[in-house]
């Protein structure tokens, strides 16, 4: 009996979501396009660097330096400029992210064994990228310096640093980004779909119809939660396929564990959505409410920047954020074969969040009848 009722509700919710061709298109198309576009776009790598050089030396060493810069793969253009003003203008207008200024005595200093100096001017407006560029340039310049020193036999041999990257040997950014997007796009869509579900029925007047039927409150809640979870699972599957087949990301962990924890993640997202929906009086409030939650949830999840970089007093706020836990799980399952115990440890908070939000939604829901 209860199953008949619940099944009817679930089928109805799915139809309401998927029957309109426009809605269907919006639910399936854009998330895939987003995955493709954003996983290529969202990269903190710095490549295709534009550089200007003010070479007042024009000696052998400075020419050698410019050639090395031109030869480095991450630099797109190395353009000579005539003077300080042109250099400043190029930086000002962001035609170049960095400028290298080589003094008139550069080659002479090197030849004479006197410490030589190169000035690098970077655009601090893009401080993150320019720091990385600064690192590239320093390595090239120091490499040049070291060779000269060694060939002159004046310096002790260098200490080599041999770096090895586990899990992602070539540090391919998409290996990081695609799992992130899997988790956050699921949040984005799941939250808005569930947030709208009750608000929409309320605005269209079908909500009363539901309330006078023998469906019990918990059945209505379950019926509202399962369809977005199903949609979320389909998205997840598509994304996992795309990650493996399109992006060639290794799937080292267990798919079963991924889906198992995803269940709780989707449940917690749907719980949050229902909570918003129970609070909102109109669709507009539900959408904007979902947004108000979505933006901080994405920013405080470790998606773009690690949580440990946040100020200590802010870090506790992230413990109520389901995305935080699922990001660790998705990335871990894909790249690291995260142990079961760790996955369980990250899933537990998701279950707690789901329990809390669903209870709160049910309470709000009943209170509306007063």
């Amino acid at each position: 009996m209860w199953w008949t009722r619940l099944k009817a509700l679930i089928v109805k919710e799915l139809l309401a979501l998927l029957r309109d061709p426009k809605a269907r298109l919006i639910l399936v198309g854009p998330p895939l396009v987003q995955l493709l576009v954003f996983s290529y776009a969202a990269t903190l790598d710095v490549t295709n660097i534009d550089l200007v050089v003010l070479d007042r030396d024009a000696g052998a060493a400075s020419r050698e330096l410019v050639q090395r810069l031109e030869g480095a793969p991450d630099f797109r253009s190395v353009v000579p400029v005539a003077g300080e003003a042109a250099l400043a203008a190029a930086i000002d207008r962001q035609e170049a992210i960095a400028a290298i200024s080589i003094g008139p005595t550069f080659s002479r200093d090197i030849a004479a064994g006197v410490p030589a100096k190169v000035q690098v001017i970077l655009d601090g407006r893009r401080s993150n990228a320019s720091q990385i560029v600064a690192g590239y340039i320093s390595r090239i310049v120091q490499g040049l310096g070291a060779e000269i020193a060694v060939s002159g036999g004046r310096a002790p041999p260098p200490v080599d640093v041999v770096a090895r990257n586990w899990f992602n040997p070539n540090l391919i950014y998409q290996w990081f980004m695609v799992p992130n997007l899997v988790a956050s796009i699921a949040l984005l869509i799941g939250l808005i779909v569930t947030a709208l579900s009750i608000a929409r029925e309320r605005e269209l007047g079908t909500f009363d119809q539901l309330m006078v039927s023998p469906l019990r409150t918990h059945e209505i809640l379950i019926g509202k939660v399962i369809p977005p979870m199903l949609v979320g699972s389909v998205h997840l599957t598509l994304y996992v396929l795309a990650a493996v087949l399109v992006f060639g990301i290794p799937l080292r962990g267990s798919l079963g564990l991924l889906y198992g924890s995803a269940l709780f993640y989707l449940l917690s997202v749907a719980g949050l959505g229902l909570f918003i929906s129970a609070l909102a009086a109109t669709q507009q409030q539900a959408i904007l409410g979902a947004f108000l939650l979505l933006v901080p949830a994405t920013l405080l999840s470790g998606f773009a920047t690690p949580i440990e970089n946040m100020p200590e007093w802010l870090q506790p706020v992230t413990i109520v954020n389901p995305l935080r836990y699922f990001l660790i799980i998705v990335r871990g399952v894909f790249l690291k074969d995260l142990p079961v115990a760790e996955i369980a440890a990250q899933t537990l908070p998701l279950a707690l969040i789901a329990a809390a939000t669903l209870t709160a939604a049910a309470w709000l829901f009943r209170r509306r009848l007063e």
Binding site: A23, P30, V37, F38, Y40, A41, A42, T43, L44, D45, N48, D92, R93, G113, P115, A116, K117, V118, V120, I121, L122, D123, R125, S127, N128, A134, S138, V141, Q142, R154, A155, P156, P157, V159, D160, V161, V162, A163, N165, F167, N168, L171, Y173, F176, Q284, Q285, I287, L288, L292, V295, L300, A304, P306, N309, P311, L314, L335, K336, P339, E342
Partner: protein, 381 residues
Amino acid sequence: MTSAPNSTDRTGRLRRLWALVRKEALQIVRDPSSILIAFVLPFILVFLFGYGVSLDTTRTRIGLVVEETTPSAQDLAASFRASRYFDVIDGHDRREFEEALVLGRVRGIVVIPSTFAADLAGRRPAAIQVLVDGAEPNTANFVQNYARGVVATWAAVRASESASAPVGVAVEQRFWFNPELASRFFLVPGAIAIVMTLVGTLLTSLVIAREWERGTMEALMATPVSAAELLIGKILPYFVLALGAMTLCVGLAVFLFGVPFRGSLVALYALSAAFLMPALGQGLLISAATKNQFLASQLALMSGFLPAFLLSGFLFEINSMPGPIQWLTMIVPARYLIPSLQTVFLAGDIWSMFLPAIAVMAGMGFVLFVLAARNTAKRIA
């Protein structure tokens, strides 16, 4: 007698426009959700970008394995412990840290091998191993670079203590506009663009879709109001609201978070106003095309919010994106706003940069307005 149709009369037109604007303003004030999005969200965003989200790696936890007890190995280990970039946990065997690396408890393992001192003494190149967590490439890069830095500094100091003076090329770095390298200085302007996108595109498309859904649009259309007046009556309040939200963000950024403001207010408002043209135009177009709040929100999200976030150069460098995606960013208005806003804050007025940006944004706005006006002819579909 025929009452003259007064839709061409100038005072009548102004009065109608004013009435529409006032109505919209009242609705904005009365709906808590529009206040939330226009005034509370800016607080949250500026706050998060000011404090929470930082691209600056402060201290990364690493495991340090010293396989021998020679003075030089201990000396190098001490350099790592003293580094302000690392939070070092000591160990004797790399296997102790391998699980921690998998779980993300440490981001890297530095190994000073048992042959270190011997290699140094033998004037053979000595090697330090750095194992990093490649699952987070950005952090991995930072760990590698900082580890190199520690080793290089240590080597330089050692060399200076030995007889031969160090010779080489010194690199003197100067970060213009933002010498402290505070990432919030460039993130906050990006947050402003996000807020204006939300108010301009999302909120505007929602309120118009709502008028269609509730049937108030039909009543408006049967009055002498012209289609142009209807559109302007919608745009104006949200234009002002968005500028208000922007002003709030700037105030917070400058007075609360100490972001420098080196340009002029004129440039700030000119750029913001130019940006709002395509943002509002997009909102109008979306609502005219969908007339449904759910679809409008999804479209606004996908074509407005996410591109402003991800394809604008706000967090991710456009130059580093693959070619086709770089082309795609050309039609994202925020891409033109964000560098200019960063400049207004950090560098000052560089009009040679602003004017082309303003021209492009205004052009986009014009095209979108024309499209929206065509879709909003005073007819019931």
